[in-house]
């Protein structure tokens, strides 16, 4: 992952409202999640539910979701008049791998001659 993308993803998560949004999407609340009728696969969580949970205006929630989407952390699906949001697992995984590389390097042993 390039640096710009890593920073964009960190910025996207570095806000209480957006971190909360991601947590809600990670939990997939049964009531407000659109699923495939046959296998139960989750398509996403309804915008209205996210708005309720955040207690922020619709424009503000929409703005935060856009930031997360442009960072590749979530995806949106339109179904008629409603919009459903869900995590993009690849986005979060990419960031996790990037951050894991920042952990202290293991000691390089130099064997005695």
């Amino acid at each position: 992952m390039n640096e710009k993308l890593a920073v964009a993803r960190l910025k996207a998560l570095a806000d209480p409202a957006r971190l909360k949004l991601v947590r809600i999407l990670a939990d997939l609340p049964d009531e407000h999640t659109l699923r495939d009728e046959r296998c139960g696969t989750a398509y996403g969580v309804c915008f209205c539910h996210l708005e309720d949970r955040l207690g922020l205006s619709a424009p503000t929630v929409s703005h935060h979701l856009k930031v997360l989407r442009e960072a590749g952390l979530i995806e949106a699906i339109r179904a008629g008049r409603w919009t459903y949001y869900r995590l993009n697992p690849a986005g979060l995984n990419g960031l996790l791998q990037e951050l894991a590389e920042l952990q202290p390097k293991p000691i390089r042993l130099e064997l005695a001659q």
Copy 2:
């Protein structure tokens, strides 16, 4: 980790200059790293080196280091007139664990009766 701390750590990393600082500290450049003479354990990287690598003014670099320090991601050590900085592994690890929990939950199987 509480939410405030997680956001503070994400904010701290969500800046090009600070992410670069953390990367430099993760790499521990031999030339500018203070080590224990006997075992070679790294105490930290000299401030002057970080200033050089970032190409920003000393006050700005000092500001960024303070943000990282207050987020618990790095530590500072004074040695005479010089200051050395190093990663605080626990800080980054804590954040990584926090983010790992955001990954999609495994499917809860409901066995047929």
